[in-house]
Symmetry: D3
Subunit: 320 residues, 6 copies
């Protein structure tokens, strides 16, 4: 698929999901590099940077897109000849795609080790990575039980319990409001993430921070499952991120809403859980305390501290 076609598909949301977006962009860059004629290093870099910019501009609020591009282009930056740059870029692109595809598998294995036999786990929303940890723990013979929330307004909890039911895992389904009520029975809160900030705050489905607060009140551990490309250098500090609100029509039937004159429907898709309420973040390169988030950002994603400062808006459509 051509570079411009991929850019178009990402922009028009025909390609969705943090992982798929990232891989599509890298594949498009790889194909594009193959089409480029031999040239000196400067020309090659210029062409590749131009292509990267084209892709990066398609979805300015996606977290995984700049991470992926940055990661693969860094191979070019360090190369000393055009030939080296091409081959280094190719190798790095292959690595990225492969490890991205395997990320959830790796997370599942690492995360399952942090689940003990007999644990009662609370999960919120429908995170592929979090569920993979739970299913892997179940598969390895641990007897576990899950509480899953409804996840208003889009009811993703129904997908979650379907998945858990299919896997034969004992599950309880509760409204979002009941999380604190049941917290005393919970041994572990395990959720995914839409983004992890430099200081280890976790941007995730609205309601996550409330659950993490209740877990913290009860000294229950909170574990987050997140691929490294979810780590967002530009989201400096949790509380200071700007959370985009979705349309309100998910909250009320339109015919009901139409009768109200003084009521605004407020529909933020995410909230921010501060790092002091998070005990562990499981990534495909290892499990870390949230305070080490910036290590992932610097050493695995390649960002420098002076790039952390840009304002950041997070939008739901770019994460899912």
């Amino acid at each position: 698929m051509s570079l411009t076609q991929t850019a178009e598909d990402i922009r028009e949301m025909r390609i969705r999901g943090a992982g798929r977006i990232a891989r599509a962009a890298v594949e498009a860059l790889r194909e594009y590099a193959d089409t480029l004629p031999d040239s000196d290093l400067a020309t090659f870099r210029e062409q590749m940077y131009g292509a990267a910019e084209l892709l990066g501009d398609t979805r300015p609020t996606a977290v995984s897109l700049p991470n992926a591009i940055r990661y693969v282009l860094s191979a070019i930056e360090r190369a000393e000849t055009a030939t080296d740059a091409r081959s280094a870029f190719h190798a790095r692109a292959d690595t990225f795609i492969r490890s991205s595809l395997h990320a959830v598998r790796e997370i599942a294995e690492i995360g399952a080790r942090h689940i003990s036999d007999g644990d009662v786990i609370l999960t919120h929303c429908n995170s592929e990575a979090a569920l993979a940890c739970i299913i892997e723990a179940h598969r390895s013979g641990k007897e576990i039980e899950v509480f899953a929330t409804e996840v208003r307004p889009r009811n993703q909890g129904r997908i979650t319990i379907r998945t858990l039911d299919d896997a034969g895992i004992k599950t309880n389904f509760i409204v979002d409001s009941a999380a604190r009520h049941f917290m005393k029975e919970i041994d572990l809160v395990l959720v995914g993430a839409d983004a992890v900030t430099v200081n280890g705050a976790v941007v995730n489905k609205i309601g996550t921070s409330q659950i993490a607060l209740a877990a913290h009140e009860a000294r229950t551990n909170v574990v987050v499952a997140a691929e490294t490309y979810k780590f967002a250098p530009r989201t400096i500090l949790g509380e200071l991120i700007q959370i985009e609100e979705r349309e309100g029509d998910e909250l009320l039937p339109p015919e009901f809403a139409a009768t109200l004159r003084n009521v605004t429907l407020r529909n933020p898709a995410f909230d921010v859980t501060p790092p002091e309420y998070v005990d562990l973040i499981v990534t495909e390169v290892g499990a870390i305390p949230p305070q080490l988030a910036y290590i992932i950002i610097r050493e695995y994603l390649g960002w420098e501290i002076d790039e952390f400062q840009k304002p950041f808006v997070i939008s739901e459509q770019d994460q899912e």
Copy 2:
């Protein structure tokens, strides 16, 4: 209406709502007393206590029912002749019914004084007393704004925003999960109560304790509006109350639920907010800190400390 008829109507839930149940029981006792022939004090007491027991047994988990019966019968206990007992009972029954009918009006006036001009108020569920405070504050010219939650699974929030919209009050509608996200904008959390325990814990719609916890985290005041007959001597300590769970069919469409084999639907109607997260309880006899709850119970409802110890189960159908 005859005593047995009223007892039957309460048992069969044809009479519902904490206030209505209480008043119906007192009215039935009053009518019953009028039918009794002249007798000595002992006989009169015996007959009235028998009637009270009949009524009290109809709904063992209602909070207002024993409060009302206890309150009016105490007039008989202190009387020294049958004649005195009759007239004291009549006076007390009248007082109870009148003050019960006026309770919300009184609460609204007292509660509105604790709302300041410019306040942004978060409310949860659909409490007549809490909304009366808000509407009274608005009526008295204070410019206020309200955040109202959806209140899953029965969506009582829709009734709340309808009421606020009709009153011309600027309102925001959010999912239950978004309470902590918006807490920094909130000046006051104002909710009702299904029961208040001896130590000032508040039993209210599921989700209330989560909101109060988030308010506490942000040093936002939590005010509870509750008629005195909501104060429950037998609910010793918040955390130790047994909360009855409702049928799960409110949580999922039955055709969906039918396909699940490993999933239990858990549907507690209430949770318990500990007194350290409550700043003020507004009753019709004055506003008190939660630590004075037992004063209401002892001095306004007439219970003694050695009656506080009975186990208590709270059930939704008896409160609404």
Copy 3:
């Protein structure tokens, strides 16, 4: 001094200070009672209530004034003949004046018992009762050391250190901002109160709540010395009291202030320390935890719970 003259003197602030205002009002009522001709009980009551109202209206925001009037008039309420009423009133007025005069002496003795040999005490503002405790502890041979704050904007700390210096007590003088810095060296925070609310919150000189917060952070005990007439039934809940602000000219030289166009001088005289940061309140009738404040209000001052609900504004000129 005639009733109207005393009323005038209180209104015009020729009589100042919580204790002096209270005693002057009681003395005026006592003299007024002596001038009344013999009459029936109803007439006597009417006359005395009228006089009380006249006095009470002079300073609606004083705490001690309604407490004193209420206390002495309660003798009349319970009397059954005019003669009884007169003599009961006289006795109660005498009791009030005597115990009010001795209150600080009693507080000093009780409070000094809570100071241990070797204690380092932090005090804020210039409370006669708090200093009396410190001086009594020193007099009884305990080796103590005091940290006293400056108390901006009116520098009452200078009066405090003068008093402590005269008493020969080792004292350190610090700016208000340094309280937390030195808190690790402090064994006891000991302050006075301008008012104590029903739930045990303490209204005192601006800065007190900040010091109590820092004490709480360091698990240092906070003891408040307060005469019973400082307990204010109408101040329901600490955080909800309205604190009157003084003129800003205490904050800046007028010639400096005159050059500023966008600056407002904000000068609240008091703040509110929540009861969870107060360990003990020493009164002349005994030392109590803040949760028992309403016992003082009900049993020593004679207020009922349904009188607690009135809004309350606290103003500095009425306290000092």
Copy 4:
């Protein structure tokens, strides 16, 4: 200006202020290097290290001085020939001076992004960097309001409100003691720093830690504006830093102090705010959570962990 003259001027406090001291030292080293005859690398290093030691000894408690010297000398350490060393040193000295001069400007731009339209900001003392953020936010069209404290004993708050008034920013002036009282109205606390320690604790004007504690109690964000040369490797741990006390004569008129025999004037210029009360530190190289302070110290200032252990005394005259 000659090396010895600069050393003398720094020692005698003719050169003051963290930034100016740092730049003067670097300029003196640069001039000195220019005067040195051609030599081998070892000789050049020895001469430069000698000069650095001379300068470093002038003010052992300054934070910026060793940071600046260390930063520029590291160029020499890595060079392999004398010629390389000279030119690398020159380049690095130029970089340091330029970025130091621009630091406040950079901080203002980064910091202003963390101020939202409508924010009410509390600031303490008179920090050039913190005020630059506020003024930049105002300049960019955000409607903001400021609370500024008096800052006893030297009243630097007057300079602050003069600056804000000149900038046309709506400002409130309060005594230091009133910070907690107004905290509920504050959206953001924004202060400067005299030093930032390895673990992210902030040494700043006395009173800062008290304000940060009150902000923490109310879940209000605390942002610190600090140039990188304020980061102090030798101040391992906030609470364990030794804070030098100033003369007490700032606290009381001498004629008053002279009359006191038992009173000591205690005048610490700074206090230490622990990192858990700080949300963000804005530097000229980016905004970081306090937990990343050591990254600044290691990667921007060039210190190693085994140099962090030296005891450290902070003195006011070296910071201002």
Copy 5:
């Protein structure tokens, strides 16, 4: 047994244990009253007060002794003739002895209701009342498991596990230091008390406050089983009670201790758990939150608030 003989036996610790001391004193007073010749009320009172004083002086630090004496003598205070006084006193003495003997039985029934099927309970020291609750819960068919601590230095935990083992209850034995380590597995901490103070603080075996702190950290409920005669009016505030230290020879073999020259053996028998770490106190007259402790003291034991202020020393030998 004669009055003086009983006084002697109590003083010489031939009579031990809070309950036994209290009952012995009341019995001695009852016998003594029977020996007194008919007289007027004043004479009878004088004689009885003299006898009470004799008994009270035997063990000034016992909690139950003054409670018992106070309780039975209050019958005399209210009587209007000598005959009334005698009979009222007799009745009250009988009541006291009977209810004291039944107290543990009553507590067991009330306390067992607060234990749920499946609960894991941590207990510390060897409290008859706490163990009675556990055994009653087990007897009533609830499946429970207990963690019992060693209780250094006197190893009372061994008696506890012997009792639990005999009752057939599944028990774990741990060192005192391991309480926090196992707290996540614990559903309920259940301990006795040597004294309960006016504000609800609990004086109990050294180590209790540490366990309660760890329970509070993990949101685990703490329940205290205490007879009403353990409530101590003179122990105003937990933290301010003076705890007597026992001889150090329980801590080390004397031959070891003899070789140490710089080591002091510190052996406090009790510590004080603040009321905010206690959820419920189970007494024989009902279960109360700690904030209602003074109700027990005033209404069941008959003390007035102005008697609360005396200093109080608690000594182990008087409690056991």
Copy 6:
């Protein structure tokens, strides 16, 4: 001593103690390297890695063993010829042994600087490094006082007070349960560590976390003295470490235990103190806040983040 002999001695616990085990392994590797014939790099590596594996397998749960092996082998990894590898390995082995031997000496000097004149220090268990800090502070002339706990079940506190007594330091000996009771008198808690995890949690003798919690409650600093080889990359998160329990026979005399049928003796040797309760970790390369633990692990011990994820069991016999 031959490689196999050393491996045998470590396995059979003839060599004990974290430091001694580490040094013995390094010495065995060094001797083994000397016996190897000249070869190419690949062969040399293979032989050395084989030897390392042999040693590493002897005690899979020791913390210092893999740290030491890893550290010295990293010299081989980076070498480019066999000759380089040999000499680099030799140098690194020498460095390790020397710095390991000096580690306690270095820690003592650094740690003593964090003890102030007049400090009262609480220590738990018998840590050579912690005691060295205390003794060094005493030796340097600071007047200090120590509280030492008994340390059940093995009474290591007796060794501690013997050491302190011999050093002439004023010491108090208390049961483990009394730590919170005395915490208000303590200025500093100073303990050793058996392991430090990646996120700065401290694994140490059972009871340490309880003391640190009580210190945190009272704002008392907690300092941990730990050699760098105690830092354990595989212990990701404190709370999630698996703590091995020892035999229960240390808890009770066997003849007593034999009579119990329902009692299990639970004897965990360690617990985990979360990093938020630790203020400073003193190592031989400097003092760090716990958040920098992973810096030690990465930069001084040479582990990568993706090696942090392995599960980890800590066993007492390997630490002592």
